[in-house]
């Protein structure tokens, strides 16, 4: 009966908020007040439980891959698409899916969990499956310390009831796996990893500026991984799944998106068990498109335009290593709004030398001049520095006719650029 009233109130508030054009998390706020247990009860009813995806980089892409792979096996998946206030957002999304008895039609939930909201969430809901991607310098503005972030992820891992999936190549995340293994014998711990030849492309944050800022080559890999990424081509990859190699075409681009796919494969294999054949999963993976702004391809003037989100040194570095600059016109858009992080020191931890040969066309964004200064220090030429994104985009477009284009952008720059581009060409609403 409790659910009936809560859902009724929630749906009513939601309808009213919609009429007034209010925020999507508002109904969630109301439900948290009138029925604090609603979230836990609704998620507890899901027959296959809750999957949590966390880590500093790649949560959105990885969650999207997990969702689409699970759906390819016929499961109905509940997921949270955006994150303002996490729990309220999830409640608001649940309200759209539940009937008046508080039941959803979903079999399983896949939730992208921000470290900042983790403690509050796991106090209410224990994830059955948790996937931990990495601990990278991303959110120092909010937490001050990487060590703190690692602690948050460790707490999520310790609250997990069935299976924990960890990145074998990230020392902090791997250590969390080892801790859970030692202290929770009932929880399975599975790893995803990289082959020796790909390791050098994935610096951990601590190694990022090892003595010379150069990649340090291989680090010790401990233990077997369920899925290993062994080769990355241009929109293709080879995964070793339980020891057997599978090569496939991909719509995902770049080494880090592809590594996220390896993580998603491990998790989905754990959820589905032996019921699903690996070739079918690999086939489903080949259709997954990148998440909004994560290496997204748009068509402009009959040519591809790639939006590549960069938000921390490791991510930017990986993006530069993933995408070949030759033949592309390049723009870089750096904002320092609070959603981007106000501190732009991290630009100095990325080497831009790979852009030196072909140069950068336009540098834009609120901190365009800082970015230009950074490029100058690496001997990278640029054609123009134009702070306003709209003018910059027009100029960039005019100066790059006949070439495919690539824009590296921080989060809020990406949102604005996407809006501007949508006025001139069709931009698919991926998520």
């Amino acid at each position: 009966m409790r659910d009936f009233f809560t859902v009724l109130i929630g749906k009513t508030v939601r309808a009213l908020a919609k009429l007034r054009g209010g925020g999507s998390a508002f109904p969630g706020l109301v439900i948290e007040k009138v029925d604090p247990g609603f979230l836990a009860r609704a998620l507890d009813r899901l027959p296959l439980g809750v999957v949590v995806v966390s880590g500093t980089n790649g949560k959105t892409t990885t969650s999207k891959i997990v969702v689409e792979l699970l759906e390819s096996t016929g499961l109905r998946v509940f997921t949270n698409s955006t994150g303002s206030n996490f729990s309220r957002g999830v409640i608001a999304a649940l309200l759209q899916r539940v009937n008046l008895k508080g039941e959803t039609d979903a079999d399983i939930a896949v939730l992208e969990l921000d470290e900042a909201h983790a403690m509050y969430f796991i106090a209410q809901v224990k994830p059955k499956y948790t996937l931990l991607l990495n601990v990278l310098r991303d959110q120092l503005d909010r937490f001050g310390e990487i060590d703190t972030t690692a602690k948050f992820l460790s707490n999520i891992a310790m609250a997990t009831t069935d299976t924990l999936v960890v990145n074998r190549e990230d020392p902090l995340v791997r250590a969390i796996g080892e801790k859970v293994l030692a202290e929770h014998s009932s929880v399975r711990v599975k790893q995803f990893g990289l082959s020796e030849n790909l390791l050098k492309m994935f610096p951990s944050d601590a190694e990022l500026h090892g003595s010379d800022g150069s990649p340090l080559g291989s680090r010790p890999s401990a233990g077997d991984a369920d899925v290993i990424l062994t080769e990355v081509g241009l929109q293709s990859a080879t995964f070793e799944v339980a020891g057997a190699p599978y090569t496939t075409d991909l719509k995902l681009e770049g080494v880090y998106n592809t590594f996220n796919a390896a993580a998603a494969l491990v998790l989905v294999r754990q959820v589905c068990g032996s019921e699903v054949e690996t070739p079918a999963l690999i086939d489903a993976l080949s259709y997954v498109k990148p998440a909004f702004g994560r290496g997204e391809r748009i068509e402009l003037d009959g040519l591809p335009l790639e939006l590549v989100l960069v938000k921390n040194p490791a991510g930017f570095r990986l993006a530069l290593e993933s995408f070949e600059p030759e033949g592309f016109a390049t723009m870089i858009a750096i904002n320092d709004n609070s959603a981007d992080g106000r501190d732009i020191s991290w630009l100095w931890d990325v080497s831009f030398e790979s852009l030196a040969t072909f140069g950068v066309d336009t540098v834009t964004g609120i901190r365009a001049w800082d970015m230009a200064l950074r490029l100058e220090h690496d001997g990278v030429a640029f054609r123009a520095v134009i702070e306003p994104l709209d003018t910059a985009l027009n100029e960039f477009r005019a100066h790059s006719q006949g070439l495919p284009r690539r824009i590296y952008c921080t989060y809020t720059a990406m949102l604005e650029l996407r809006k501007l581009i949508a006025k001139q060409t069709k931009v698919e609403n991926v998520w």
């Binding site: 365009a368 001049w369 200064l373």
Partner: protein, 239 residues
Amino acid sequence: MTRELVVAQLYPRDMNIYGDNGNVLAVLRRAEKHGLSVRKITVNPGDKMPTDVDIVIGGGGQDSGQTRVHEDLLAKQAQLRDLAESGTPMLMICGLYQLFGHWFRTHTGEEMAGISVLDVTTSAEEKRLIGNIVTDSGLFGEIIGYENHSGQTFLGEKSTPLGRVLVGEGNNAKDDTEGARSHNVIGTYLHGSLLPKNPAITDFLISTAATRRFGEFESAVIDDALVERARESAKRRPR
């Protein structure tokens, strides 16, 4: 043959968190523009501290990084103090700024001994001081950067502040000082990175080092238009 300066980067493996590599890179590029070349030596825990060194630069780190370098730093303290007292220019940011003082008191009340090159003491506080910061230094003009620290630092009589805070917090939440200087050693909480956007400090490090080694320094005329634009846009940003 171009004249060469030797720059030692202290603990880049553990103390590198706020774009500290940018400071070394800025010295390198700026020295080139002045017609000098730079040889970089990295000093990690366990490595020997070079004796023949012209500039020493160090950065900030996690609590865990600070713990890892602490013992090694104490082992090198006599040598670092000699270098400082003989006039070697140094730049220490955030974590190493703190450890170049007398002591650092952690959140749990433990006292980590510093190496007393700077006359400062630091205590960890609950509130982090985070955000864009502008200070007025007199000698180096306005210094522009970003601060992010929970340690609050107070100066003794033998060190002078690097600057007076115009926007931001600086050394602590109580007075308006930022950073500290003794001999030719500069300690500061500003990163961002500091040197690329504050070439007056870079020039100070280079000219002091060059004068000490070669007996003279001839400054080149450098076009700083790009730096000026970056400084202007940084100054406009909210805290």
